[in-house]
C-alpha cells in the first residue's frame, strides 16, 4: 500500500488506517483465545471486582487496629500476635476443622453407596433419582438447619414423640446443642454436594473395564477395590473438598443447633463484625482460617495424588 517513502496524502492515509483496522479485526476473528477471552471478560471482570478485590482489602484490614468505632490504619501485626497469643482462637479453628473433617468423612461415606446405586443399579429412572437428590440442595439452607432444631429440640419431634409413645418420661438432653448435633445437621445439609460428584465419576467409568476384571477372575469385591474405587477417586476428592471447605466457616448451624459446646470459628468471626465490633481482628481470624484451609487442602490433594499414583 505505501511503497514510496513520500509522505502519504490524506486519502491514502485513510485507506492505510482502514487497512489496519481490517487486518486487526481479521486477526481478532481468527484468533480463538482473543475471541474467547473477550467473551469471557465481563464475567472475569465481575469476579475480579467482587472476589479478588474484597479478599485483598480484607488482608489489608487485618493489619489495622480498631479504635472504638474507627480504625487506626498504621500497619501492625498486633492482631496476628493476638491470634496466636490467645489460645482460644487456634483452638477454635482446630475444633472447627475437626468437626468439618468428621462431617466430610460421614457425608462421603454415606453418599458413596447412594451414588453407586444410582450409577450402576438404577436403569431407567436415573433422572428422577438425580433430581430427588439435587432438589433439597437448592432449597433454603436456613430452613433445613432450622428443621433439625425442630427435630432434635428439648420439646422437639424426637423427644415429644418418644414421650407420647411412652418410651421415655423425660426429654433427652443430649440431642441438641452439642457438636454431634452440628455434625448431623451439616452431614444432612451438604449431602447432595457429596453424592453428585461421586455419581458423575462413577457414571464415567467404562463398563467394559469392569467386565474385563470379572472375566480375568476377580470377584465382585476385588473388582470394586481394584477398578471401581480407584477410578471414582476424583469424584470422592471433589466431594470431600466441596463439603469440607464451606463447612469450616459455617456459623448458621452452630448458632442454631450447636449450643455453647458446638461453637465454631465462624461464630467468632461473625461476632467480631457484630457485637464485639473489632473488624480488623475478625479480618485477621478470617485470613488465618483461609490460609489454614488452603494448606490443608493442598496437603490433602498431594496425599491423594501420591496415593492414586501408588494404586495405579
Amino acid at each position: 500500500m505505501a511503497e514510496s517513502t513520500a509522505p502519504l496524502t490524506p486519502p491514502e492515509l485513510g485507506e492505510f488506517r482502514r487497512g489496519w483496522v481490517e487486518r486487526l479485526r481479521a486477526l481478532f476473528l481468527r484468533s480463538e483465545p482473543t475471541r474467547g477471552y473477550s467473551l469471557l471478560s465481563p464475567t472475569l471482570g465481575l469476579m475480579l471486582l467482587g472476589l479478588a478485590m474484597p479478599v485483598a482489602v480484607l488482608v489489608v484490614m487485618s493489619f489495622w487496629t480498631q479504635i472504638y468505632l474507627d480504625f487506626d490504619r498504621t500497619p501492625s501485626v498486633a492482631n496476628y500476635v493476638d491470634f496466636f497469643g490467645k489460645a482460644i482462637y487456634p483452638k477454635l479453628l482446630l475444633k472447627s476443622i475437626r468437626i468439618s473433617a468428621t462431617v466430610t468423612l460421614v457425608t462421603v461415606l454415606l453418599a458413596y453407596p447412594m451414588a453407586y446405586f444410582i450409577a450402576f443399579r438404577v436403569k431407567r429412572s436415573k433422572l428422577v433419582w438425580i433430581i430427588l437428590i439435587t432438589v433439597p440442595f437448592w432449597t433454603s439452607y436456613l430452613l433445613r438447619v432450622f428443621a433439625w432444631k425442630v427435630v432434635l429440640g428439648y420439646n422437639g419431634v424426637i423427644n415429644s414423640g418418644l414421650i407420647t409413645l411412652g418410651v421415655i418420661s423425660e426429654p433427652l438432653q443430649f440431642l441438641l446443642y452439642n457438636p454431634t448435633a452440628v455434625i448431623i445437621t451439616l452431614a444432612h445439609a451438604w449431602a447432595p454436594f457429596a453424592i453428585l460428584p461421586i455419581y458423575v465419576s462413577l457414571e464415567k467409568i467404562d463398563r467394559s473395564l469392569l467386565e474385563a476384571a470379572r472375566d480375568l477372575g476377580e470377584g465382585p469385591f476385588m473388582t470394586f477395590v481394584r477398578v471401581t474405587l480407584p477410578l471414582s477417586l476424583p469424584g470422592v476428592i471433589a466431594a470431600s473438598l466441596l463439603v469440607f471447605i464451606p463447612t469450616v466457616g459455617d456459623y448458621v448451624t452452630p448458632t442454631l443447633v450447636g449450643g455453647t459446646t458446638g461453637i465454631m470459628i465462624g461464630n467468632i468471626i461473625q461476632s467480631m463484625f457484630g457485637k464485639a465490633q473489632n473488624w480488623p481482628m475478625g479480618a485477621a481470624i478470617s485470613v488465618m482460617s483461609m490460609m489454614t484451609i488452603t494448606l490443608l487442602v493442598c496437603a490433602f490433594l498431594w496425599f491423594t495424588h501420591s496415593f492414586r499414583k501408588r494404586v495405579a
Binding site: 477471552y37 467482587g50 474484597p54 480484607l58 447412594m114 428443621a147 407420647t164
Partner: protein
C-alpha cells in the same frame, strides 16, 4: 444350580442397595417434612402429640406486613440477580465451550471460587470493601453478593447445556449468509433456551434462599431469610415461621425440580459437569 445361586445373590445385593437408597432419601427428606406437618398444628409448641388442624399460622403469615415487605425485597433482588447472573454465566460458558483458550482451566477455576469459599469470608470481605469504598448497605449490595454466588452456578448449568453443542450448526448459518447477530438469535439461542430457563430458575432460588451473604450486607431493608432469622428468637412466632418455611420449601421444590428436569433432559448421558 450355581447360576441360580448367583442370580439370588445379585437379587439380594440389588435389594440391599435399594433399601439403603430409600433409607437415604428418608434421611434427606424427613426432617424437612416436619415443617409442613407442624405448620398445620393447632398449638404454638412444635411437639407431639398433634393437637388439631388449623390454617391460623398461614393467616398470620399473609397478614404480616414485615413479611410481605421482606418477600417483595427478596423477589426483586432474586429477579435482577437471576437475569444478570444468567447473562454473565451464559457469556462465560459460551466462551469456554466454543473457543480453545490457553489458561482455560485456571480461568474457570477462578470463576468457580465462590462455590467453595466459605460464604462468611466472602460476606465479610464484601462488607469491608463496601465500608472502605463508602458504599451504603442496601438491597444492591445484597444483589451484588448474590451475583457472585450465582454466576458460577449459571455457568455450570450453561456449560452442561452447551457442551454437546454442534459448532457446525453455527458455521452453517454463517455460511448460508446470516450475520453473527442473527446466527445467535436463530441458531444458538433456541438451542440454549432450556439451559437459560433452568439457570434463571436456579439462580433465582439461590438468591431467594440465601442467608449468610445477606446477613452481612443488608442495610435497613431485609430479605425473607433475614426476616425468618429475626423471628427465630421469638418462640411464639415459630409456628408462623413454620408456615412460611413450608410454603417456601414447596415452591422452591417445584421450581427447582422443573429446572433440573429441563437442564438434564437430553444432555444427561454425556454431561460431566453436574453440581
Amino acid at each position: 444350580m450355581s447360576a441360580a445361586k448367583t442370580d439370588r445373590n445379585r437379587l439380594g445385593r440389588l435389594d440391599s442397595f435399594a433399601v439403603y437408597a430409600v433409607a437415604y432419601l428418608v434421611f434427606l427428606y424427613l426432617p424437612v417434612l416436619f415443617l409442613p406437618l407442624f405448620s398445620f398444628n393447632e398449638s404454638i409448641y412444635i411437639a407431639f402429640p398433634l393437637k388439631g388442624f388449623t390454617f391460623e399460622w398461614y393467616e398470620a403469615m399473609v397478614s404480616n406486613a414485615g413479611l410481605i415487605a421482606a418477600l417483595t425485597n427478596s423477589v426483586k433482588v432474586g429477579a435482577v440477580v437471576a437475569v444478570l447472573s444468567t447473562l454473565f454465566g451464559t457469556l462465560a460458558a459460551k466462551a469456554v465451550t466454543r473457543y480453545r483458550m490457553p489458561g482455560r482451566g485456571l480461568t474457570v477455576g477462578f470463576i468457580m471460587i465462590p462455590l467453595v469459599i466459605p460464604e462468611i469470608i466472602l460476606g465479610i470481605a464484601l462488607l469491608v470493601l463496601a465500608n472502605m469504598g463508602g458504599i451504603p448497605l442496601t438491597l444492591f449490595t445484597i444483589g451484588f453478593a448474590h451475583m457472585l454466588l450465582c454466576v458460577p452456578f449459571s455457568m455450570l448449568v450453561m456449560i452442561s447445556r452447551l457442551e454437546g453443542f454442534d459448532k457446525s450448526l453455527e458455521e452453517a448459518a454463517l455460511d448460508l449468509g446470516e450475520n453473527a447477530w442473527w446466527t445467535f438469535w436463530r441458531v444458538t439461542f433456541p438451542l440454549a433456551i432450556p439451559g437459560i430457563v433452568a439457570s434463571l430458575l436456579l439462580t433465582f432460588t439461590i438468591s431467594f434462599d440465601e442467608f449468610i451473604l445477606a446477613f452481612f450486607l443488608a442495610g435497613t431493608d431485609t430479605t425473607l431469610p433475614l426476616f425468618i432469622w429475626s423471628q427465630l428468637r421469638f418462640p411464639p412466632r415459630l409456628p408462623m415461621v413454620l408456615a412460611l418455611g413450608a410454603t417456601i420449601l414447596i415452591i422452591s421444590f417445584f421450581l427447582v425440580a422443573f429446572a433440573e428436569w429441563l437442564r438434564r433432559r437430553g444432555v444427561q448421558a454425556e454431561k460431566t459437569s453436574g453440581v
